[in-house]
Symmetry: C2
Subunit: 208 residues, 2 copies
DNA sequence: AAGCAATCACCCAAAACGGGTGATTTTAAC
DNA sequence: GTTAAAATCACCCGTTTTGGGTGATTGCTT
């Protein structure tokens, strides 16, 4: 029985905290080195705990899980953070991912899923429950009923990357006047009259 | 034994095609209504097949899986496409997601994982193998060693969204001159002298 | 034959941009 | 409690970009 994956659990709900602990302690190569009810409590101890995996509740008193991620990654760059959450709002998911979470599980995940996910993450993989995967994938999907033509979409894409019309023209090997002409049509179709509005509308409607 | 999830398999490798077919046909509520060696072959038949799930190989002769996704979604908007692939380059993953794939499995996925994923996707979820999840998550993670300060990052973020300095100033309730000052510092730190270069560098280095 | 997409042209005034140089205040770290 | 870094604002300059109007040509698709 070799325990080589060191796990820390930070979860304010004591029932859940204990449940996770007993679940994971029973796995052969898992070792729950410590559990905490808040990040503020865990903060100073984490360096000694030196976890490979940190299970982190996103809703907590004091420092929230979201705020805690970058701090944890700062003091323990090699640890993998797995977020536990009840809800899965798009904003929270992306903030967690941006801050450096390696996994994202909703609390309705089965015991098996949790154990599996820790293995995957410890091996350098990513873990997402199906709810989260759905949110992430949806965020990528473009609207297939865009009013913009292929060329217009291409041009708006480049503009959304911060390029000027002149740069777009150079990159596409067309005249500046042509780009201007396309942009005018884009503005009419999207009913806007500026770059930023066009980008905003096109992004919210998933045209780009 | 009620077969209610209709599945179509499009995969040019006949061995794999048959393997998937027999694997999935044995599942109680799955019904493999047809299999094809290429999308061009499948194209006209898909309307009659009316699959709930389409398993699609990404590397195929003729129309590639990537090109096929939007066409499939066009003629069968309600079908869920699950991509099968050997490799998992970031570009392919994102193109598939953008085009409307609901799932993404590498071919080393276990039989159980495949069966599970189809269930999840059929229920409206998303499915990703751990390799893919890792790629997706990595793409989100920002560089924690950015030379930019919090405010500078915030401002560059807004500029990258297409806003002008004036709009940024209004939004952050600070003076235009302050924004200009920050932007100047950003340009120095990133060693650039234009919006588009700053955005480009900051994005490739994951500062924003 | 008609319509749409993509291409280029010229006019105009307003807005935004990039660079320089400098100052003050607030915040954070040692 | 000092000191450094971050955030704030100010005014100079000339150049580039932007948005709007109006119109034309070519090619593809239906």
């Amino acid at each position: 029985m070799n325990k080589n994956i060191r796990i820390v659990i930070i979860e304010d709900d004591s029932v859940l905290r204990m449940a996770y602990k007993s679940l994971l302690s029973d796995v052969d190569d898992y070792s729950v080195v410590n559990t905490y009810a808040s990040f503020d409590e865990a903060k100073k101890e984490l360096i000694n705990d030196n976890p490979d995996i940190t299970l982190l509740d996103i809703e907590m008193p004091g420092t929230t899980g979201l705020e805690a991620i970058p701090i944890i990654k700062k003091i323990l760059p090699q640890t993998h953070v797995i977020i536990l959450t009840v809800f899965d709002s798009e904003e929270k998911v992306f903030n967690a991912l941006i801050n450096g979470a390696s996994g994202f599980l909703t609390k309705n995940s089965s015991s098996i899923k949790i154990i599996e996910s820790i293995h995957e993450v410890a091996q350098g993989g990513g873990a997402m429950s199906m709810n989260i995967a759905r949110v992430v994938m949806r965020s990528f999907q473009k609207n297939l009923d865009s009013p913009l033509t292929k060329r217009e979409t291409e041009i708006l894409d480049l503009i959304a990357e911060g390029q000027t019309k002149t740069q777009v023209a150079d990159q596409l090997f067309i005249d500046l006047e042509t780009v201007r002409s396309h942009v005018k049509n884009i503005y009419i179709k999207l009913d806007v009259n500026s770059k930023s509005d066009a980008i905003k509308i096109a992004k919210t409607k998933k045209f780009i």
